[in-house]
């Protein structure tokens, strides 16, 4: 018979066995959880309390050659509310704060704050109600204004939970100079949190300026917000886009745009554009157009008025008219066909060739070539074309870059219309005077830069350099050597001397003369072609020149499309050329030649 002691001992033994068994089970389970499957469960837990967010670097900025900002990124904020956490009685006070700082409609704000549920239906599933936890109240809110709103919201009684109303940082593309250079800079639109380039530098340099996204893994709270002192691990570094420096000089650009604005008001043309370039480097110093636009204004009217944001000096070819004569005659001088003093019969102002009439604006008979240039004689130039022959005219004008791209990295760029038609005997008399071909203003500026720089043809440059904002590394474009167009070393100087006469007494553009400086230039007036026919009463009026003529600081071309009140380039563009040149030369610190200064009145 078992004693009490034995029974107690057996029970204690059983209990001990159960306890040991439980302990062993727990130990084994603990081993499985903490050792064997540790990584799996750790990863699961980490996935629950960590979140990954994508961060974006800043889009590259645009500067002029002196480092003045032309396009930047303005720090702004998005104001967001979680309507489910805002008590209905506080919506009114919150709306009042927002409407006192921002131009918002109070009713719209209240509707957003009070809409707590939306109905969602996916496929054939029955519709269900989903709580709205993220309602955007306003975007692109100024940094300082958002700060003021935050302060006022914090002061609300009773205090709102910090996740009920918060702001998120963002950057908005901003053009601090407004209309200045807007046709060149272009603009971006905003879609799905990203800047989408639409035109201009923004579009053409997009690949360099676009930032790369980064990724951050962070510890989050139950409501999903980032724990301020929790783990924060950058899994991929974000990278800002490259900053682009243009060859544009902001001061010269401002001068050109101001004077162009006056010209636009005076002659009310459809379009007026101006290009200023340094002939010794091919760098574009200013490039302006009217009408233009303010890229900060994204109104529907602006977006629909495409004429105002196209860059017509690059994408719109026109018949250049008489400004082509300088190129044709320089070729004839270079191959020895004529000299400035060669006498040519101007036929009294009317000449028939191949049954077609060609007229001059002045009636002259036998005149030297230089007078033909000064008076812009079509007949003299056409006869020079005939003397040169079709092939030489075509090859020579093509060597000036006509029919080719200019090197400016903006899109779209037209190459113009420059081809030698078969069986057209008239072409050789029309192309040298700028008819029967289409060129862009940019191509003409490139050609005149070659004339101004002793016949050295360069590609034009708008891109100065790019800079990596993180490292300061600078990337410069490859330097291409110029092409020498003329065989005779004095060809360019002879042509320049003839062009000087154009801006003097007796020339077609004495209004373009700048006191104290020699100006070499040429006027041009050409009829406008619409749907393959010359339009009645519609003209292009142009002046192109360089100053000081013997050591030019810039080439400047001004073109008016359909001016009203005057036609000839000497009357329309000439005075503006003078006004811009006077101011630009002062800015560039080019001293006038006292011998060329006009005598004071009364002496």
């Amino acid at each position: 018979m078992r004693s009490n002691r034995d029974r107690i001992l057996s029970r204690v033994g059983l209990l001990a066995a159960v306890l040991i068994g439980c302990s062993v089970f727990l130990a084994v389970h603990l081993y499985q959880l903490q050792v064997r499957d540790h990584d799996i469960y750790f990863a699961k837990a980490k996935a629950r309390y960590t979140a990954v967010t994508t961060t974006s670097g800043k889009r590259g900025e645009v500067f002029d050659r002196n480092g003045n900002m032309l396009v930047g990124n303005k720090p702004c904020e998005v104001l967001v509310a979680d309507p489910s956490l805002i008590p209905p009685e506080q919506c009114g006070a919150l709306a009042d704060i927002l409407c006192s700082e921002l131009p918002l409609d109070r009713e719209t704000v209240l509707r957003k704050l009070n809409t707590r549920i939306r109905i969602v239906q996916r496929g054939n599933a029955p519709p269900r109600e989903v709580a709205i936890r993220y309602a955007v109240i306003a975007r692109h809110v100024d940094f300082a204004v958002a700060g003021r709103i935050r302060e006022k919201v914090r002061a609300l009684k009773p205090r709102l939970p910090h996740v009920a109303f918060f702001s998120e940082e963002e950057y908005v593309r901003y053009y601090p100079k407004g209309e200045l250079l807007s046709n060149v800079l272009g603009f971006t639109s905003y879609s799905k949190g990203e800047d989408v380039p639409v035109s201009g530098v923004e579009r053409s340099f997009n690949q360099s300026m676009v930032p790369s996204n980064g990724k951050i893994r962070y510890e989050r709270s139950r409501d999903g917000s980032q724990l301020p002192y929790g783990m924060r691990e950058i899994t991929r570094e974000e990278k800002d886009g490259m900053n682009i420096y243009l060859t544009i000089d902001e001061v010269l650009q401002s001068i050109v745009e101001e004077e162009l604005g006056h010209l636009y008001e005076k002659f009310t043309p459809r379009v007026v554009c101006a290009i200023m370039a340094d002939p010794k480097t091919g760098e574009i110093l200013a490039l302006a157009q009217r009408p233009s636009f303010d890229p900060n204004d994204r109104s529907r009217e602006m977006m629909e008025n495409k004429l105002s944001w196209r860059l017509l000096s690059m994408d719109s070819p026109f018949e250049p008219g008489s400004i082509m004569k300088a190129l044709s005659i320089s070729l004839a001088i270079d191959d020895g066909t004529v000299t400035p003093d060669t006498m040519i019969d101007a036929e009294g102002g009317v000449w028939f060739y191949c049954g077609k009439q060609l007229k001059d604006s002045s009636r002259r008979n036998v005149i030297p070539v230089w007078v033909g240039v000064q008076k812009s004689s079509n007949i003299v130039t056409a006869k020079i074309g005939l003397m040169m022959g079709e092939r030489r005219v075509f090859d020579g004008l093509r060597s000036f870059g006509l029919g080719q791209k200019t090197g400016i990295p903006l899109q779209p760029e037209s190459t113009g219309i420059f081809r030698m038609p078969k069986n057209d005997k008239l072409w050789v008399t029309r192309a040298p005077i700028g008819y029967g071909i289409g060129v862009t203003p940019m191509q003409m500026v490139r050609a005149y830069c070659a004339l101004a720089d002793g016949g050295r043809l360069r590609k034009l440059r708008l891109f100065h350099h790019a800079e990596d904002p993180a490292t300061g590394e600078i990337i410069e474009p490859a330097d291409e050597p110029p092409v020498q167009l003329f065989r005779r070393p004095d060809t360019a100087a002879k042509m320049t001397n003839m062009l000087k006469a154009v801006t003097k007494v007796g020339g077609t553009a004495k209004t373009a003369g700048v006191p104290g400086f020699e100006v070499a230039g040429k006027t041009g007036t050409s009829r406008k072609v619409i749907n393959g026919h010359y339009a009645e009463g519609k003209y292009f009026s142009t002046f192109i020149g360089y100053v000081p003529a013997d050591d030019p600081k810039f080439v400047l071309m001004i073109t008016l499309d359909e001016p009203h009140g005057a036609l000839y380039g000497g009357l329309t563009a000439g005075p503006t050329f003078r006004a811009i040149s006077e101011r630009a030369l002062k800015y560039l610190n080019v001293a006038p030649d006292p011998a060329l200064m006009p005598a004071p009145k009364g002496k």
Partner: protein, 134 residues
């Protein structure tokens, strides 16, 4: 009948037992002190670790706050940079010139004089020093 087994305990201790008992007391006391010292050490270490952790958290909090402030200042600098560019726009400057009737105009290059400044080459006086004297 239940038999109760008893143990015969000697009433008088043996000789030398008192000395051993006294030594055992001191050993036990020594062990107790050592254990208490060990526990005290562990407590101190633990407290130090807790206080260090607290300091670390406070420092991390301070760092995060300063980082946040730096970030805010960076954004403020960016906003000011944009504002500066706004104010350096020619149309704005011209508007201000007209508004305050300042009558400013660009100097004519003919009005400017360029002065060639030559530094005297005196013994012991360097060009930099001469510049500093000026």
């Amino acid at each position: 009948m239940t038999t109760i087994k008893t143990r015969n305990v000697t009433a008088a201790p043996r000789r030398g037992g008192v000395a051993r008992a006294s030594a055992g007391f001191w050993v036990r006391l020594g062990i107790l002190v050592q254990v208490m010292a060990l526990l005290g050490g562990i407590f101190v270490l633990f407290s130090y670790r807790v206080s260090l952790g607290e300091k670390l958290t406070a420092t991390a909090r301070e760092t995060a706050k300063i980082k946040r402030e730096i970030h805010e200042l960076d954004r403020e600098i960016e906003a000011l940079r944009i504002k500066k560019e706004d104010y350096s726009r020619w149309t704005y400057i011209k508007g201000q010139i007209d508004r305050y009737q300042l009558g400013l105009r660009v100097a004519d290059p003919a009005q400017r004089r360029q002065l060639a400044v030559s530094y005297p080459r005196t013994s012991g006086v360097s060009r930099a020093a001469a510049t500093a004297q000026r």
